[in-house]
């Protein structure tokens, strides 16, 4: 974990990622036809240019990361308890909410899947605000019920407004158009 939390290592990983993205784009560009017509440059010109540009930027960032670093992040120090630690459990809750609603939206309908996303995301944010220590006691059944109610109270009117007034099709649980 300490390897990941060091600012320098994070920046090195990121710039390496940018370089690999550039190489991936370049590799993909070879599969694109170079048929040029009158212009002298074909559909593969911009992909090659973008991958070259990205490669140069990634290389420069890598060089900076090896030196003084490029971002203004404070270097994480695990022994410093005053420094805010990233709340990974909250992040997991929110991600779960977003991905679950993506997976379920066509089966359980817009209202229920968005309410589910709301509940998960709000729970994650409550955890982040309360801190891990108090989270267990303060986030009881009441907050779940409240969030579920709020989630439905927001997503249902949004669904009606978009489907009934703006005629945008969103998936419903039933064919009635109201649920």
């Amino acid at each position: 974990m300490s390897f990941i939390s060091s600012k320098k290592n994070q920046e090195i990983i990121l710039s390496t990622g940018i370089i690999s993205l550039a190489l991936g784009l370049a590799l993909g560009a070879y599969g694109i036809s170079s048929e040029a017509g009158y212009a002298g440059i074909g559909p593969n010109f911009l992909p090659l240019l973008v991958s070259a540009g990205l490669f140069l930027c990634g290389g420069f960032l890598f060089w900076e990361a090896m030196g003084n670093g490029f971002s203004h992040l404070p270097d994480a120090d695990p022994s410093d308890s005053t420094q805010a630690q990233p709340c990974w459990s909250g992040m997991a809750w929110m991600s779960a909410g977003l991905l679950l609603s993506a997976a379920l939206i066509t089966t359980i309908g817009f209202i229920l899947s968005c309410a589910l996303c709301f509940v998960c995301a709000a729970h994650g944010l409550r955890q982040a605000h309360a801190g891990p220590a108090q989270a267990a006691q303060s986030l009881g059944i009441r907050s779940w019920v409240l969030d579920a109610f709020l989630g439905l109270a927001i997503s249902a009117p949004v669904f009606w407004m978009f489907t009934q007034f703006l005629a945008i099709s969103l998936p419903g649980l039933t064919q009635s158009g109201w649920l």
């Binding site: 009158y38 929110m94 899947s113 709000a122 955890q127 801190g131 969030d147 703006l166 099709s169």
Partner: protein, 494 residues
């Protein structure tokens, strides 16, 4: 006289009850969006882009313009009352505005910001009315080489000049261009980077990228890093200005407008430079005890000037968008996307082919300014209540709207997974100080610039010297070069 007639016709279109209602809803929504932290005009317009498939073009452009404008008014409220830096456009307002609010003068600061926005917005709209048609007349003569150079200029300034680091800005630009590459090539129809996924043939929707980068990334950043951040709110005092406040604000408003308006007209985007410039000018001109107020109790000129400059820039930024089809900020890039959804390509022909739409849009800017003044001066207390929405519910609610925007566009669950992926990208970018505007502008402008480049080279029969042979494109290339080199030289000399 011709302009006046067309403007009056525009007022007639914008003044129908239905369009007035759209303008009002847009202004109110825009103000709310501006006040709420974590969501800006670009996000709001992007989330509502799906309505373009059912609402007619004039009504939805009036609606979007209301949001675009309203957010500027609302943003200043938050930056004055809340002790957290909001979006870049209102960062400068926050410097003095916050100080004023702390010493009990929040009301005067809010009033000066709102009236300044009104004056600057109205003057800038007059500039748009007078100059946009003239510019469009001249722009008709530009060919693909000139267009390509103009777009190159816009891309360069957005990524390399604004923001703190050229390399990070360019990285963001290339990422945006890469996203723009996905899908079918405009000229030959060749599929690029689709990886065999049929959903990607049409390209990545602008809604997805904008909502993912701004809304989802903002929510993820909040849950991961901002848990412990405590913010404090300043007390609202009565929203009035004393005679001395008026006397000090008025020249600052005009100076701010004069500084801001030209910046919007050139395809160089961004409100950072004009607002900071206006702040510096006001500080330089202040004397005696007024100067002493800067940074201490807060000087009203430091709110009035930058706020006027901000609104003037944002309004005149519509000139390059409408006459050249070149967006220079996140929000104008998304407005361009909205035009494209209607099959309308903004450019010099827009004033002849879609005259009624354009003039209704311009007329609605005048109307919107008046509406916003009313919404923001007597009713400011109402908007302030929005600041009390607790963070967990606020961000979770934003995610619901993000889902509507992303799903409503193409009705594909695949897009929601992509939305999450782009949210993660935005989170990393935000964490490591990469600007997001170049991604959005690059993604929209990239395919257009590529088409112009290839058309230009076709005209030149494959010779790159075509860009040097035409005086206008040569001049523009020199400007691009100057924009890249000059700031560096100036910094070295310091």
């Amino acid at each position: 006289m011709d302009i006046l007639n067309q403007l009056l016709a525009g007022f007639a279109t914008a003044g129908t009850p239905v369009n007035l209602l759209w303008a009002f809803v847009g202004c109110a929504l825009g103000t709310a969006v501006g006040v709420l932290p974590g969501i800006g005009p670009a996000t709001a317009v992007a989330m509502l882009l799906p309505i373009t498939s059912h609402v007619d073009a004039t009504a939805s452009m009036i609606f979007f313009a209301g949001i675009y404008y309203g957010a500027m008014y609302g943003g200043s409220t938050t930056s004055i009352l809340l002790n957290t830096p909001g979006e870049t456009a209102t960062m400068v307002t926050a410097m003095e505005g916050n100080k004023m609010a702390k010493s009990g003068r929040a009301g005067a600061a809010l009033a000066s910001a709102a009236i300044g926005s009104f004056i600057a917005g109205t003057i800038a709209t007059i500039i748009v009315t007078l100059f946009a048609p003239v510019l469009a007349d001249h722009a008709v003569r530009l060919g693909p080489p000139e267009y390509f150079c103009l777009m190159l200029l816009a891309l360069t300034t957005v990524s390399a000049v604004l923001g703190q680091s050229t390399v990070r800005g360019l990285t963001a630009l290339f990422v945006g261009l890469a996203i723009g590459l996905i899908g079918m090539d405009q000229i030959t129809g060749q599929a690029r980077y689709t990886g065999g996924v049929p959903e990607l043939l049409d390209g990545v929707e602008i809604v997805l990228v904008a909502v993912g980068l701004f809304a989802v990334a903002e929510a993820l950043h909040a849950v991961l890093f901002e848990g412990a951040v405590k913010e404090s709110e300043n007390k609202l005092s009565r929203v009035t200005m004393s005679t001395s406040d008026w006397r000090r604000s008025f020249p600052a408003w005009l100076r701010g407008t004069a500084i801001g308006a030209p910046f919007g007209c050139i395809p160089a985007g961004g409100t950072e430079i004009p607002t900071f410039l206006s702040y510096a000018v006001e500080k330089k001109l202040a004397k005696g005890e007024h100067l002493a107020e800067f940074g201490n109790q807060g000087a009203i000129e430091g709110v009035a000037g930058p706020e006027a400059a901000n609104n003037a820039t944002v309004t005149t930024a519509l000139i390059p968008l409408l006459t050249l089809g070149i967006p220079v900020s996140n929000t104008t890039a998304i407005l361009l996307g909205a035009f494209q959804n209607y099959g309308i390509q903004p450019g010099p022909q827009l004033f002849s082919t879609s005259a009624s739409l354009v003039w209704a849009l311009i007329a609605s800017l005048y109307i919107g300014n008046v509406m916003l003044l009313v919404l923001n001066l007597p009713l400011v207390g109402l908007w302030v209540k929005l600041l009390k929405v607790p963070k967990p519910q606020l961000y979770a609610g934003i995610l619901i709207f993000a889902t509507v925007g992303a799903y409503g566009m193409r009705q594909s669950a695949f897009d929601l997974v992509l939305l999450y992926g782009i949210g993660l990208l935005g989170l990393v970018m935000r964490r490591f100080d990469f600007p997001t505007a170049p991604v959005v502008v690059g993604m929209i402008l990239g395919p257009l610039a590529e088409a112009q480049l290839r058309n230009a080279l076709s005209i030149g029969e494959g010779k790159w010297t075509i860009f040097l042979e035409r005086p206008m494109s040569l001049t523009l290339l020199c400007v691009v070069l100057a924009v890249l080199v000059l700031p560096r030289l100036l910094r070295k000399r310091k």
